[in-house]
Symmetry: C2
Amino acid sequence: MKISVILAHPHKKSFNYAIYETVLKTLKKNGHDVRAHDLYYEKFNPLLEGFELVNGETSDWRIIRHREEIKEADGIIVIHPNWWGQPPAILKGWIDRVLRSGVAYEFHEDDDGSGVPNGLLKAKLAMVFNTANTPEERENEVFGDPLERIWKDCVFDFCGIKNFYRKMFRVMASSPLQEREKWLNEVKKLINTYFPDENQKIENKFN
Amino acid sequence: MKISVILAHPHKKSFNYAIYETVLKTLKKNGHDVRAHDLYYEKFNPLLEGFELVNGETSDWRIIRHREEIKEADGIIVIHPNWWGQPPAILKGWIDRVLRSGVAYEFHEDDDGSGVPNGLLKAKLAMVFNTANTPEERENEVFGDPLERIWKDCVFDFCGIKNFYRKMFRVMASSPLQEREKWLNEVKKLINTYFPDENQKIENKFN
C-alpha cells in the first residue's frame, strides 16, 4: 500500500521523531510504499497566500508533489505534538495548502461553497499520533480535546476518509525512558495491525 | 486602554479585513491605544524552531515586540477565517511563538510542565471574530466547532483571561452586500459595548 507519513516536530531528538522512525521502519518492513515527510526538515512553507486561496493553483513544485501523493495514498499517518489543542503551525499550513478543493474534496457544480462537499481522498485509514503534557482527565474536561474533532471530523471525514484511529501519548514531561520504550512498542503493534505485512498477505492468497 | 488587534487573512479585500478596519476605527474613535497587526502584511514567521522551543528565547525583534505588547494589553481582539476548524497557519504560529512560558503563563517552580500553570496575561477581555462558510447547525453537529474550545479554553483561559466573547459571521459565500454591512455594524456595536469611549468614561468620572 502507498502510505503517506507526515511529521511536524522541530527536534530530531524528540519523542515525535522516535515515533516517526518507528512508523517508517515498521511500514517498510511490512513491504509498503512509504512517502515520508518531515515538514521541518524539508522547510515546508505553511503560508497560504491570497492568490493561492482563490482557486488553489500554485507553482510551488513541493506543494504539487504533496498534493499528488496525498491523492494517491492508501493510508495516511500524521505525527505531531499537541500545541494549544492544535497542530504546530507548519502542519496547519500543510492542511491549508495541500488539502485543497479539487485535491481532497470538491463541491457540487451549483454549490457556492456553503454546501456539503464530496471527499476525494481514497485512503482507507488515517492515523494520528500525538504527544502531550496534559493529563487525560484535564485534557477532556478543561480543554475538550479539540484535536479529536479537528482530525476526525473537520479534516479526514470531510475529505472522505471514514476510518480514523488516534493515539495520544502522555504525560511526556514526566515519562521515564521505560515508558517511552513501551509506547514505541505500541506504535509498532498498531502499525502491524493496521498496515500488516504486504508479502504475508500475498503468501496467504496463494496458500 | 491598550488593545492588541491581530488579523490573519491574506486578502486586503476580504471581509476579515473589513472587520479589522472597523475594529481599528472604532477603537481609535473611542480613544484607545491600539496596537494593530496584520500578520500577512508584516510577513510574520510562524515557525517555532527547535532552539526556541526549549526555553522560548529568541533574537527576532518582531517576536520580542509581539510578546511585550501582548503582556501589556488590556484587551485582545483576534480576527480570522475558520479554516478546518482552526486558525490559518500564520496565526497558529503567532500562538506558538508569542504566547510562551514566562510571557503568557508560568508553571510553578517544582512543576515539570505537566501541572496547571498560572496565566500571566492581564487583559480583561479577549474577543474573537471569525468568518465561515459552514452553516451553524452543520458546524455544531458535524464538526463540534473546535474554535470555541481552542480560543476560550486552550488559549485565553490558560493564559489567565476569563472574559471571552466570540462572534462567527456566516455563511460568507452566500451573504449579500447588505448582510455584510449589517455585520460590520454589529462589529462596531460590539466594540462600543466592550471597549467604550475612554473620554466619555473620564467625563463621567468628573460629573
